[in-house]
């Protein structure tokens, strides 16, 4: 038994040492290769720039004269500089990419069974701004969120008929998945000047979406230029009665960014929202009222300063009034003896103190 345990122990220790040795060896080799690549890069940069300055460089010949490792570095440099350059230099780099077979390889990558290979292909195609048919894109990308986002970005970059709708559809393929930051950014860029694609998806399918996805789309929608379509605003107005306070607040934020016109305001029942049990919703409503800034909104904010049960909300209402140049509510000195005037006075004094904290002068606190 003891011998058996000893043998097992030795095997485990031996296995760990073997793994550690292999890991160390791989790390040393990779470090060496990375160092070699960096050296090659510094040697190639002047050569590459010299070629870029030529009117008609023979890219194929130039590329073929380099070793396998040098060509790898050249491809890395192409990817890096395509992200940073425009104009004639970029055009030259695209020709170099063609000479290096990068575009063909990227298109072939879309057929790979490996997600990472397809993703790499989509990234290259985006850098090269090379369009691919929607059917082929869809086939290559729908299986994974990262490839869907990459395909959407390619459609954004290349454009084409229905590109926005197709790309938005790809991004919102699953109704139970949050979008990555990259996907969110792509969704915004697709819809920022015309949010028809996003609003169509939202109004048609939004109610089935996960709350997290819905919140993300409301955030994006709020930053897009929206047409004044009654159907959209009615749909958004209904979200103000959603069970989730986060959705109610996000909907108010979306309204806030659409301006103060009556065509927008009619969908927001301020009185009902000010009695919302969630302080986050009321906070967002105060920001909305501050954006509108008319006399009615000011009255609502003044009302909130004295009546909101939440400290932070009262401060927000007071700060909003201060920011838009409106005054805090005042107490009627002739009011009869009751708790109400005392409560109002306390709230206003407290709000005033928050807006005007004591400042430290050179001689101490003033």
């Amino acid at each position: 038994m003891t011998t058996w345990l000893g043998d097992v122990g030795i095997a485990i220790v031996g296995g760990c040492l073997l793994v550690a040795s292999i890991t160390f060896l791989v790390a040393v080799i990779r470090y060496s290769i990375d160092g070699r690549r960096e050296t090659i890069r510094h040697e190639l940069v002047p050569d590459l720039f010299a070629q870029l300055e030529r009117s008609t460089p023979d890219w194929e010949r130039w590329y073929e004269t380099h070793s396998r490792l040098e060509r790898y570095v050249i491809r890395q440099m192409i990817a890096q500089y395509l992200r940073k350059l425009r104009g004639s230099e970029r055009e030259q780099l695209l020709e170099l990419a063609t000479a290096a077979g990068i575009d063909d390889r990227a298109v072939r990558s879309l057929e790979s069974w490996r997600t990472t290979t397809r993703l790499r292909g989509l990234i290259w195609l985006t850098l090269l701004e090379q369009p691919v048919s929607v059917d082929r894109l869809r086939a290559a990308s729908v299986g994974h969120s990262t490839t869907r986002a990459a395909a959407a970005r390619l459609l954004l970059v290349c454009g084409g008929p229905n590109a926005t709708e197709e790309a938005t559809s790809l991004l919102l393929w699953r109704n139970d998945e949050r979008l990555s930051v990259f996907a969110l950014d792509t969704l915004y860029r697709l819809n920022q000047t015309d949010a028809s694609a996003l609003t169509s998806k939202l109004t048609a399918e939004g109610e089935q979406w996960d709350e997290a996805l819905l919140l993300q789309c409301l955030l994006v929608l709020g930053h897009c230029r929206l047409e004044r379509r009654p159907a959209l605003f009615e749909w958004l107005g209904a979200l103000l009665e959603h069970d989730s306070p986060a959705v109610r607040a996000a909907t108010l934020s979306t309204f806030e960014r659409q301006g103060w016109q009556p065509s927008v305001r009619q969908y927001v029942d301020v009185e009902r929202i000010l009695s919302d049990p969630d302080p986050g919703v009321r906070l967002t409503c105060y920001a909305l009222l501050g954006r509108w800034g008319d006399s009615t909104s000011i009255e609502w904010l003044q009302y909130a300063v004295v009546t909101d049960p939440n400290d932070r909300c009262r401060v927000t209402a007071a700060r909003t009034l201060d920011r838009i140049g409106a005054s805090l509510p005042t107490i009627d000195a002739d009011a009869g003896e009751s708790e109400a005037p005392a409560h109002f006075a306390a709230a206003i004094a407290w709000a005033n103190a928050e807006l005007n904290p004591p400042r430290r002068g050179a001689a101490g606190w003033s």
Partner: protein, 123 residues
């Protein structure tokens, strides 16, 4: 005597491209990657560069911070400055001009275009 250009840019690839392109046009290029280092460099030298390419997003002090410091010293009044901005937002452009920049380029940019803008500025 060649014209000296200070490139303040923390992105190595961009500063490489700009350096190569400007040296082709016989400019003498100095690259600094940090805003605070740039300020120390300028304050320690009697002779300012003939022009400056200034990135906005920098470690240390950002481009706008440097422009604000330049505003406080008349020594920098005649220094031509081209801002390099990765954002291209209207507010950034307006702020840049308000703080005294003479021109701007938006990333991604054409190095040839930067060279032409610099030439015109120095004329």
């Amino acid at each position: 005597m060649s014209t000296a250009v200070l490139v303040v840019e923390d992105d190595e690839q961009i500063s490489e491209v700009l350096t190569y392109r400007l040296e082709l046009d016989d400019y003498e290029v100095v690259v600094i990657e940090d805003g605070e280092d740039c300020w120390e460099y300028l304050e320690s030298t009697d002779e300012l560069p003939d022009a400056m390419l200034l990135d906005i997003m920098l470690p240390g002090i950002d481009g706008f911070g440097l422009l604000r410091r330049f505003e406080t010293d008349e020594r920098y009044d005649d220094l031509p400055i081209i801002l390099i901005t990765g954002r291209g937002l209207e507010d950034d452009v307006v702020e840049g001009f308000t703080l005294g920049a003479d021109d701007y380029v938006v990333k991604p940019f054409s190095p040839s275009e930067v060279a032409v803008r610099l030439d015109r500025l120095l004329q």
